[in-house]
């Protein structure tokens, strides 16, 4: 992260210029296979000798319990829900992501701020506020977006974990049952992810392909970022 930048109003008390590592985010809706691929990427990178840490949505020490509690209550309003996610993210950013980048690690983020953007937009129709709130976030070096259509996603989720209340957006009352609600909610999310893919230049990977093909594509996107990183390390003496 040679020219590390903040998304908006950054952390005024933290200078991001000395972050040597690389921040790679894997985005995509629920059940699309992000965690599986991140595990495989970690293995692949470590074999090559890169230090890797992974960080996942709602997994901060500070907030994971709080968020579980809040979700159990089912009474969250749009702002509290988004702010809880933002708090969790900030805790991981300052205690995991930034220290790891400073030490030269590759950070693989299972979901990033774009998940929060999509979820808040679906609930509010407003893009500005949530982006302002996440102004303190670092812009990743690379965002890979695992894209899937809602029909395939629905089948895949039923076959594996099953549909749950929050992944179905039941708080939005979009459908009369879990299945209808899931499909409506997830298609809204996918629609917004697609828009963001253009706006923020995500690397789109078709998540309907076989796991091997997907992994191959992901590696293809990641390699240049890492090589670029190695080159810049010794670039000082290269004449223009």
């Amino acid at each position: 992260m040679v020219d590390a930048r903040y998304f908006g109003d950054g952390l005024t008390y933290l200078n991001p210029s000395d972050l040597k590592g690389k921040l790679i985010a894997v985005e995509g809706t629920d059940g699309v296979g992000r965690s599986t691929h991140i595990e495989m990427l970690q293995e692949w990178l470590e074999v090559q000798g890169y230090g890797v840490i992974t960080t996942g949505w709602t997994r901060s020490n500070l907030m994971s319990k709080t968020i579980e509690m809040a979700k159990a209550g089912n009474i969250l309003d749009r702002w509290s829900l988004s702010l809880l996610y933002a708090t969790d993210f900030a805790d991981r950013l300052e205690h995991q992501i930034i220290p790891a980048l400073r030490s030269g690690f590759v950070v693989l983020a299972d979901r990033y701020i774009y998940t929060a953007f999509a979820r808040d937009f679906v609930r509010s129709g407003d893009r500005k506020w949530i982006r302002d709130v996440f102004g303190f976030a670092l812009i990743p070096d690379l965002v890979c977006y695992l894209r899937i259509d809602v029909e395939t996603l629905a089948l895949r989720v039923i076959e594996t974990t099953g549909m749950n209340y929050w992944e179905s957006g039941m708080d939005l009352r979009l459908g009369t049952d879990l299945y209808d609600s899931f499909k409506k909610y997830q298609s809204l999310l996918i629609e917004e992810f697609d828009k963001m893919a253009e706006e923020f230049h995500f690397n789109v990977v078709d998540a309907r392909k076989s796991p091997e093909e997907i992994q191959e594509e992901l590696r293809g996107h990641i390699l240049p970022v890492l090589q670029n990183h190695k080159r810049t390390a010794g670039v000082e003496h290269v004449p223009v």
């Binding site: 109003d9 952390l11 319990k65 702010l83 900030a90 805790d91 302002d132 102004g135």
Partner: protein, 249 residues
Amino acid sequence: MTDQEGANAVPHPYSGKLIIVEGIDGSGKSTQLLLLHKWLESKGHKVFFTEWNSSDLVKDTTKRGKKTKSLTPTTFSLLHATDFASRLYHQILPPLKAGMLVLADRYMYTAFARDVVRGVSRDWVRKMYDFAIKPDMAFYYKVPIEVAISRLLRGTRGQFKYYEAGMDMNLSPDVTESFRLFQTQILAEYDKIVDEFGLLTMDATQDIETQQEYMRTLVEEALRGYKPRRGTYGRRTLFWRRFDVPKSE
């Protein structure tokens, strides 16, 4: 929402009234609000009261953060915004929409003062609270730092609160000195906020009764034309309980 001013800068459309107090610990703002509450109730108003940082959800988390010393200026600020959002939605808006009076001990200006002194961006914290509604009346209880300290030291509380003293900022190992340093900066920040948002500055060094008399005069004027709304004449103090965040086990 994109191009217009934030909701926190324009008058709210609801028929109720929102009255808030701001000031540092030891300014006497809570005492003044309590006395106002009594007076309004004695006049037959149904009044709802809410205070800063009071939801269980956030209290537990702040406590955990304090124990592990892991709260940063940003997570501290976000947590308080979460608490505020939850109270706004569950406690403040329903009575306001129903045309009732809501009293708040501290409001978003506390975050604007405190979080900025802790080190977050001034713009960022204002944008984050964009969803808040503008109070009908906002009182700022202005007090010199030494007066606040002597009140807190000889008062009923007898000691400073950890975060109020800014103990997490390592300004001084001595809690009184830390409070003095931290709150002096906060007072300076409040002075800017008073101008920016047009808070009513109250002289918090005066007698309690004198201050209260003045506050009541101002509130009475502001409420002229306001028609109190009550659903019932019975005592149903538990009515809003159903909107509370469930307690943790």
